[in-house]
């Protein structure tokens, strides 16, 4: 505005005819001068109005913006840090909310030679820096470290370091050694429940366990904020693993497996397969241990099948009198096959005695009387003809004879041979046998009371009650006495099966199992323990059968887990065995 000289013809009219006029006639006529003045004034007014309008518009915009901020809040003004707390991968917790797998920003020692932007990567000599690093990490090799630093290549010097170590590295003062915090998957409980949890591979995908099963929910932005709750109880899991590991050590077994299953819901409260692996550090040795013995490996579980056979016979009505005896004095010859007992058990035994002494001959006769069709149907209803019900990807298919069963198959299946199932199959079947007869699929999800599956009836309530008595009898007076824990009313059955090998069964390689439930007067949990090739050691009185390892382990596990699961010991309570006692006399059990 100031640059335009108001009142001068040149400034207002520009290089038009006025310019020429001014040159031709320097003093304009008075009429012309008035006219020019009016024009100039009009133009000035228009300009002022324009400028005022621009200012008004700017003010209006500002006021509007202020109003918008005031009204619509600061939604667009900044992004809140809510997303910062959303983990890259969701958390997995146990049934009590204890995190078992979570995202964790861990520090890595990363050598970044480009940090100095053009200059040499380190401010000091690589040897000096290496010496300082070895002061912090004494297990590192100084010479090798110096070589790596001198190479000038960006690389991990160490994958995981502690926060305090990161601070000390920071204090060295080398910009090339600033430890970045990297998101990583972390299992605070180490190798606890490793087979249940699995691990996360380098590609960020879950492997082996629930990490694989939950992969979509754990990575989806909409669902990864909420926790995935397992049915596992970390304390029970720890007790189970600890005792199995102890049992493995005492019996020098190659491996062990164990399950704690809720009999009324099918929830797997603990599931262990040993030896285990550490999901925090997956290495070659760990990869070899990823095979799940409990859900993936099928075994001929031996005598633990006998109670199922007896239950099927009671249920079908072929056993109406528990006092009825079967001849057990001589091996049973069927075709070219002889069914024998481990040692002579006397000329005849009744039903409770057959179970207490674990007589193959007696059980085979009971199954023979029951018949192939009924025996097979019961086994099918217990789920022995399909993969076990569990979310884990590793589920073994049973060795199951399809079609009509010949007589000998029925007889061998009755004592757990000629059929191979996983220990999880057995646990579900025992749950059905003691809970009143309802079979339910096992699950690793924590179930709300309204989510418990209805299940299917396999045994009658009365059959289940009888079986509870007999299973208890096996522990009080039979082969399972080592499992007795005062006040916990454990009942169960031992099983020691020879492992099949080249050219028949191997007499020295056993799979020992103890399938049990507690408390027997009102069963709440099934506990199955299994040892793979236990040896007779001084700790097991040079015995390798189930009574000395698997049953003894249950006897140690139950007192530890009972109170955690709300089952308190009471020595004044037990299942009523008074009608069974006369049947067994003063019999003691053998293995």
């Amino acid at each position: 505005m100031a640059s335009i000289p108001l009142g001068t013809a040149q400034g207002l009219s520009g290089p038009g005819p006025a310019h020429r006029i001014a040159r031709q006639a320097p003093p304009p006529a008075p009429a012309r001068r008035a006219d020019l003045r009016a024009t100039t004034l009009k133009l000035a007014r228009t300009r002022v109005a324009l400028i005022a309008f621009a200012f008004a518009l700017a003010t209006a915009i500002l006021v509007l913006r202020v109003a918008m901020i005031g009204i619509f809040g600061s939604a667009s003004a900044f992004t809140p840090g809510g997303n910062a707390l959303l983990p890259d991968r969701g958390t997995i917790v146990d049934r009590n909310g204890m995190p078992l797998a979570r995202d964790f920003k861990s520090y890595a020692l990363w050598f970044n030679p480009k940090a100095m932007e053009g200059g040499p990567p380190l401010t000091r000599s690589p040897e000096e820096v290496a010496r300082k690093l070895v002061e912090i990490f004494p297990d590192m090799n100084e010479a090798e470290l110096a070589k790596r630093l001198a190479s000038g290549k960006g690389q991990y010097l160490r994958r995981r370091i502690l926060p305090e170590e990161a601070n000390r590295v920071f204090r060295i003062g080398e910009p090339a050694l600033s430890p970045p915090a990297e998101p990583s998957r972390y299992y605070p409980e180490g190798n606890l429940a490793a087979h249940v949890l699995g691990y996360v591979g380098a590609d960020g995908k879950g492997r082996v366990g629930m990490e694989q099963v939950f992969d979509d929910q754990l990575t989806d932005a909409g669902t990864r904020g909420s926790e995935q709750v397992l049915a596992i109880d970390a304390r029970v899991q720890a007790a189970l693993e600890d005792e199995l590991l102890r049992g493995m050590g005492l019996s020098q077994a190659k491996g062990a497996g164990g399950i704690v299953l809720d009999v009324d819901t099918g929830e797997v409260v603990a599931l262990a397969s040993l030896p285990s692996f550490d999901p925090n550090h997956i290495d070659e040795a760990g990869m070899k241990q990823m095979f799940n013995r409990v859900t993936n490996q099928v075994y001929e579980l031996g005598s633990t099948f006998k109670p199922l056979t007896v239950a099927a016979a009671i249920d079908a009505g072929t056993i109406t009198n528990l006092g009825r005896t079967w001849p057990t004095g001589a091996p049973l010859r069927i075709g070219g096959f002889a069914i024998k007992d481990s040692h002579s058990l006397g000329p005849s035994l009744n039903v409770p005695q057959i179970l207490m002494h674990s007589s193959n001959i007696g059980t085979a006769q009971i199954a023979d009387e029951l018949g192939s069709a009924r025996m097979k149907r019961t086994m099918e209803r217990l789920g022995f003809n399909e993969r076990p019900y569990i979310e884990l990807p590793a589920r073994g298919f049973p060795i199951w004879r399809s079609g009509e069963w010949p007589r000998i198959t029925t007889m061998t299946v009755s004592f757990g041979h000629g059929i191979a199932v996983t220990p999880l199959h057995l646990a579900s079947a025992y749950a059905a046998m003691v809970n009143g007869g309802i079979w339910r699929p096992s699950t690793l999800h924590k179930l709300a009371p309204n989510e418990v599956p209805k299940g299917r009836r396999v045994f009658k309530e009365a059959t289940s009650a009888r079986m509870r008595q007999m299973l208890r009898l096996i522990v009080t007076d039979g082969t399972g006495r080592k499992a007795e824990a005062p006040g916990f009313r454990i009942g169960g059955k031992t099983g020691s099966a020879e492992k099949p090998g080249a050219g028949g069964y191997k007499r020295t390689a056993l799979v020992t199992t103890f399938a049990s439930a507690f408390p027997m007067d009102n069963p709440r949990y099934v506990v199955v323990t299994m040892f793979d090739e236990p040896q007779g050691t001084a700790a097991t009185s040079y015995q390798r059968t189930a009574a000395w390892n698997a049953a003894a382990a249950v006897g140690r596990i139950v007192p530890r887990i009972g109170p955690m699961l709300g089952v308190y010991p009471d020595e004044n309570r037990d299942i009523d065995l008074s009608d069974m006692r006369p049947l067994i006399g003063n019999d003691g059990g053998h293995e």
């Binding site: 002022v48 008004a56 979570r102 693993e241 006040g487 010991p569």
Partner: protein, 233 residues
């Protein structure tokens, strides 16, 4: 341009400048508050992350296997035994109390006497420790602290006997095993094995003879012998 017009334009310009300045100040203030909130949010996030990492560290240091190792080396705790659990309030109340075996003392139903207050008082004085078995567990010749149990046993006592007699009978420890369930029987049998002198029901007789003030003794009103026989059966 007149001076009035100039004034007007200056005023306009001034007001626009002031408005702009004010809105600028407001804007800056809003910005400041915004960034303050953002800072706080960042601090909250950082703290939460720190909490998560500390929680993880604690859990790692106190992982179940570590606890087991510490327990093996330092503490040696084992799973609790059955006798370390209490069953109900009665056992809790008697916890830590010395088990007192009260000698057979004269038992009389002093307050039960419906006739005359005076006589009742006399009777009470004559046989000091006489009380209703179910009303005062401390003086019942059973174990102290087992207040709840007599009530159960009353219902199972000889039903033909009058109410008061049943209460008297209930104090007899020896009757219990025969009349309660087999589980409880096992428990009381074990305890009473240690007090062979407890014969309260029998001692009712001297109580009756010692208090002549009582208008009608138990022996007169009830067939005591049959009740004792019932208890011994």
């Amino acid at each position: 341009m007149t001076s009035r017009n100039r004034m007007q334009s200056v005023m306009w310009t001034g007001s626009v400048v002031v408005a702009t300045a004010l809105s600028l100040v407001l804007m800056l203030q809003v910005k400041a508050v915004n960034s303050e909130i953002a800072e706080t949010e960042k601090a909250i996030v950082a703290t939460k992350q720190q909490i998560a990492s500390l929680e993880t560290e604690f859990q790692t240091r106190s992982r179940q296997q570590q606890l087991v190792r510490w327990n093996e080396v330092d503490f040696g705790y084992v799973a609790p035994r059955a006798d370390q659990f209490l069953d109900g309030r009665a056992e809790l109340a008697s916890l830590g109390k010395q088990v007192e075996i009260i000698d057979a003392q004269p038992v009389r139903m002093a307050v039960a006497d419906a006739q005359g207050e005076d006589r009742g008082e006399v009777a009470t004085r004559a046989a000091a420790p006489v009380r209703m078995a179910s009303a005062e567990p401390a003086s019942a010749p059973a174990l102290k602290g087992e207040a709840e149990k007599p009530a159960i046993r009353l219902a199972q006592a000889e039903t033909k006997a009058p109410a008061m007699m049943r209460q008297l009978v209930a104090t007899d420890a020896r009757i219990r095993p025969a009349q309660v369930g087999p589980k409880a029987a096992a428990k009381s049998e074990a305890r009473f094995a240690a007090q062979p002198t407890a014969k309260p029901a029998v001692s009712a007789k001297p109580a009756a003879s010692k208090s002549p003030a009582a208008p009608k003794s138990f022996a007169e009103r009830f067939d005591l012998d049959s009740v004792i026989a019932e208890g011994k059966r």
